[in-house]
């Protein structure tokens, strides 16, 4: 019997789990996929939003604005790269100039600091590749960039280091509420029990609510397509360049990533299923055309991959974070679309406050350690330090991924550390092996071998991303 079960190991589930391990609670995180960060948390813009966009007096406004600094602090403790590069929200017409002013005023009302309206020319001084057609822009100096899946992996890993349990491939198909708590059953016949249940199921949050007869909201899955460009293009812009938002979302952005690539996207298209995350020709063409509207010099010949992520929106437009009115000891943390990543730490704290308010006993965990060792410690070393380290650990000298310079030692670590990688994509998200310009063409055979060896698996059982995503069809 766990004290708390959390359904969904995305950035929200991960941050909530980490927050809970600050207390003497037994925590179990349930994830339907083979790894953490497999939904919206692996495929979004990776932006720390300033807080000018959400309507005042919403939960989004409140948690976004207080969330920025909380996220920076947590990311630094977790050794996740985060950078305050600032953002520019660009207008292209007199009408849009008005929107920029509105955003500025809204930002002030929300309590955002460091906002400034720039003329088109001032904006181009900040960002030399910006289009000549930009008429004005909102400069948001507190905004930043972070890698969303690295943050999720670190949050879950840190929660696990502090005692939380993680069950993967645990697709919740039934929940029984008994006297003493919830019995939560998986599709493959496993079950756990927990006194409190927190629903962080992302695009499936309404389905989970439905299992408990408490479906008072409906998630609208909204897909966003992106194109990621080679590091050679990474310096095209230094700020995150937005266009003024529309009803559908924050528009197409052009941004550097913390890893040095250039990211463009997303589109915003309502889809009928959260699984509907394929890219489309129309979507990718739209991304390219609109990205060039802001930054005409983006060279799409240097695309290294494209992807689509499905966000969990809801028609009222605000986060839904509250204790169930129907089911005792149940908390919903739902409809977390943008600025969910920015707000993730604030959301986790807010959720724990709710847990306390519904009667959970929270005693501080004196053993809690909020820091996580840098998984990329090796790559941050100087040549001299590397030399010393390799002498003691020769596996760090052998390079497996040539594009991103990732060693065998780092790949073996990714299989051993919390949360352990179980598949090729899991290794990729943890180490960046296969994340570069050849997209795993050279390294994936070696990564498959290391994964099999570390786990004592036959090589042919290695998958790309769990379940039926097998890499091999047999041994010759």
């Amino acid at each position: 019997m766990y004290d708390v079960a959390i359904i969904g190991a995305g950035v929200i589930g991960g941050m909530v789990a980490r927050e809970l391990t600050k207390y003497r609670l037994s925590v179990c995180l349930l994830e339907k996929e083979n790894d953490v960060a497999c939904g919206a948390s692996k495929a979004n813009s990776g932006i720390v939003h300033g807080g000018y966009d959400p309507a005042p007096d919403t939960l989004k406004a409140k948690l976004n604005v207080i969330g920025v600094e909380k996220l920076f602090a947590a990311a630094n403790k977790l050794n996740v790269p985060i950078k305050r590069n600032g953002s520019l929200v660009c207008a292209f017409s007199a009408d849009e100039d008005k929107t920029v002013k509105e955003l500025y005023e809204r930002g002030i009302k929300n309590g955002v600091k460091g906002l400034k309206i720039l003329s088109g020319n001032e904006a181009r001084l900040e960002e030399s590749n910006l289009s000549e057609n930009v008429t004005s822009a909102l400069l948001v100096t507190n905004a930043g960039i972070v890698c969303p899946y690295e943050l999720t992996i670190a949050a879950v890993g840190n929660a696990m280091d502090n005692g939380a349990a993680l069950r993967t491939n645990y697709e919740v198909t039934a929940i029984v509420k008994a006297e003493d708590g919830f019995r939560i059953c998986s599709a493959d016949g496993r079950q756990i029990t927990a006194k409190y249940l927190i629903n962080c199921a992302g695009c499936y949050a309404d389905k989970i609510a439905e299992l408990l007869g408490d479906k008072f909201f409906e998630i609208i899955p909204r897909a966003g397509e992106y194109m990621l460009l080679d590091k050679a293009e990474g310096k095209t812009v230094s700020h995150t360049v937005f266009q003024v938002p529309t009803k559908e979302g924050k528009g197409i952005l052009v941004t550097p990533t913390v890893d040095g690539n250039l990211l463009t996207g997303p589109t915003a298209l309502e889809v009928d299923s959260p699984e509907n995350n394929e890219t489309t020709l129309t979507g990718l063409d739209t991304v390219a055309a609109l990205a060039k509207k802001s930054v005409p010099t983006v060279n799409f010949r240097n695309v290294i991959t494209s992807f689509s992520g499905v966000r969990s929106s809801e028609k009222k437009g605000d986060f839904i974070i509250r204790a169930s009115e129907k089911v005792e000891n149940l908390i919903h943390v739902a409809a977390i679309d943008s600025p969910g990543l920015t707000s993730s730490v604030a959301i986790a704290e807010y959720t724990v406050d709710i847990l306390k308010s519904i009667g959970a006993e929270l005693r501080e965990n004196p053993d809690f350690n909020g820091e996580r060792e840098n998984p990329h410690f090796f790559r941050t070393m100087s040549d001299e330090e590397k030399n010393e380290y390799i002498k003691a650990h020769p596996e760090y000298g052998r390079i497996v991924c040539r594009c991103e310079i990732v060693s065998e030692g780092e790949i073996r670590d990714a299989v051993k550390r919390n949360p352990p990688a179980h598949d090729i994509d899991g290794i990729k998200r943890r180490t960046r092996s296969g994340m570069g310009r050849c997209q795993g063409g050279f390294c994936s055979p070696f990564v498959a071998e290391l994964l099999a060896e570390e786990n004592n698996w036959p090589l042919e059982t290695v998958t790309k991303k769990g379940k039926e995503s097998y890499m091999f069809t047999g041994k010759l």
């Binding site: 040549d383 000298g397 052998r398 055979p445 091999f472 041994k475």
Partner: protein, 416 residues
């Protein structure tokens, strides 16, 4: 810091031939740095035959061809750093590398770049659809099958009719898979004619020209692809879309020279070849740094890689010996019907005859090539046909370069 006269980066066919040629030109202190535990590069996984006909006068498999040069390297006592990855080349030719022994810094008098190339990935092709397992670049599949002994699929569609794609169509068939189609976005194949005959026709595999993969389907493993014809701008024609069920998509859509080290070192590259800009010695615009093989330009045959590497190796040795002085050069340029010419500049006057290598922009019938500087014709050659997939070579006599100071242009015209 250790010192060597010549450091060769890459131990594939280019690196091995360059090393042996440098040694034979009188510089004995030559070392090769290679990423893998065995020399040979990609040849190790090319177990089919067809290698060596031009260079060695006999038909060998890839590993056999590699063995010839591996022996040449061993016989000369050339030192090889195995499982060693070069991470940086400084302007002063200090090469930084790492292996399980630690970080190496080697000060070189000359460097030969021979890192080869990589395949264009699904991401770079930007094919829409899902992102399941079962999408492999052809070379990756070749390694998994031939070197590791695992099958990668049972029902296959191949995009791209470059030579690796064609070879893999045959390989997958021999291994028991059904190859449903080879699709080529261009109106012609980029592969060698002999490979179309021996790898597709002999196995009854259809080749669809002006056709591409428009979408990939399948959530976990590939379940099928939508193929479609393309218009002149290579855009998909909606009404020609059709679904082919398959569990594997192999991509053979072009090779990209791996010049990240080169560009980090600040060495200028050609936008057309994606390789360094070189003179007839295969010297880049950085003195003492040479390039050869597929890192310089993607070749059709390994035999030509070896030829080019011998030029680079010999020139590196001459440079170390002080015999390669900076000289006046004239640029070369691609004229009508020609996509690029390599070398991109030549010494005038040169000591020896110079061979110009080029590729054409599209397939032609009988053509006449003309090499001109201003109005002066330096050389001319007639060929019965020309195709982008087959590199052409035109040799210009050394004495023809006398008094030349204008750009040298190679162009073609179709003749009856």
């Amino acid at each position: 810091m250790i010192k060597h006269d010549i450091v060769i980066i890459g131990g594939g066919p280019a690196g091995m031939a360059a090393a042996a040629a440098a040694y034979d030109s009188g510089v004995k202190d030559v070392v090769i740095i290679d990423r893998e535990e065995k020399l040979g590069g990609i040849l190790k996984q090319c177990i089919h035959n067809g290698f060596g006909l031009h260079k060695l006068g006999k038909e060998l498999t890839g590993p056999e061809y590699a063995a010839v040069y591996e022996k040449a390297v061993a016989d000369r006592g050339i030192k090889v750093f195995y499982e060693t990855m070069v991470t940086d080349i400084s302007e002063g030719r200090t090469v930084t590398a790492q292996n399980s022994g630690g970080i190496l810094k080697i000060e070189a008098k000359a460097v030969v770049l021979a890192m080869g190339c990589r395949e264009r990935s699904r991401g770079a092709l930007n094919i829409p659809g899902t992102r399941p397992a079962g999408v492999y670049s052809a070379g990756t599949a070749q390694k998994l099958i031939n070197c590791m002994g695992y099958s990668v699929g049972k029902r296959v569609v191949i995009l791209g009719s470059g030579d690796i794609g064609l070879i893999m169509a045959r390989r997958m068939s021999l291994q028991g898979a059904k190859v449903e189609a080879v699709c080529e976005i261009m109106p012609y194949s980029g592969g060698l004619t002999r490979n179309i005959v021996q790898c597709l026709n002999d196995f009854g595999i259809p080749l669809y020209l002006s056709t591409t993969v428009a979408e990939i389907h399948g959530r976990e493993r590939v379940e099928g692809v939508t193929v479609a014809q393309v218009d002149q701008n290579r855009r998909v024609i909606e009404e020609t879309k059709r679904y082919i069920p398959c569990d594997t998509l192999l991509l053979s859509c072009g090779l990209i020279p791996e010049n990240e080290l080169t560009s980090t070192a600040g060495i200028p590259l050609s936008a057309v070849t994606s390789g360094a800009l070189v003179d007839e010695h295969r010297q880049t615009e950085h003195e003492g740094i040479f390039a050869c093989g597929n890192v310089l330009q993607v070749h059709d045959l390994v035999d030509y890689v070896s030829d080019e590497a011998e030029i680079a190796g010999k020139s590196a040795a001459e440079y170390v010996k002080g015999n390669l002085h900076s000289a006046v050069t004239v640029k070369t340029a691609a004229g009508n019907g020609v996509r690029y010419v390599l070398p991109q500049r030549v010494t005038v006057p040169p000591k020896e005859d110079i061979s110009l290598f080029l590729r054409v922009t599209q397939p032609f019938g009988k053509v006449r090539y003309t090499v001109k500087s201003g109005d002066e014709v330096l050389a001319a050659a007639v060929r019965l046909k020309a195709a982008p997939g087959e590199m052409e070579k035109i040799t210009v006599k050394a004495e023809r370069f006398k008094n030349i100071n204008e750009e040298i242009t190679v162009s073609l015209e179709e003749v009856q």
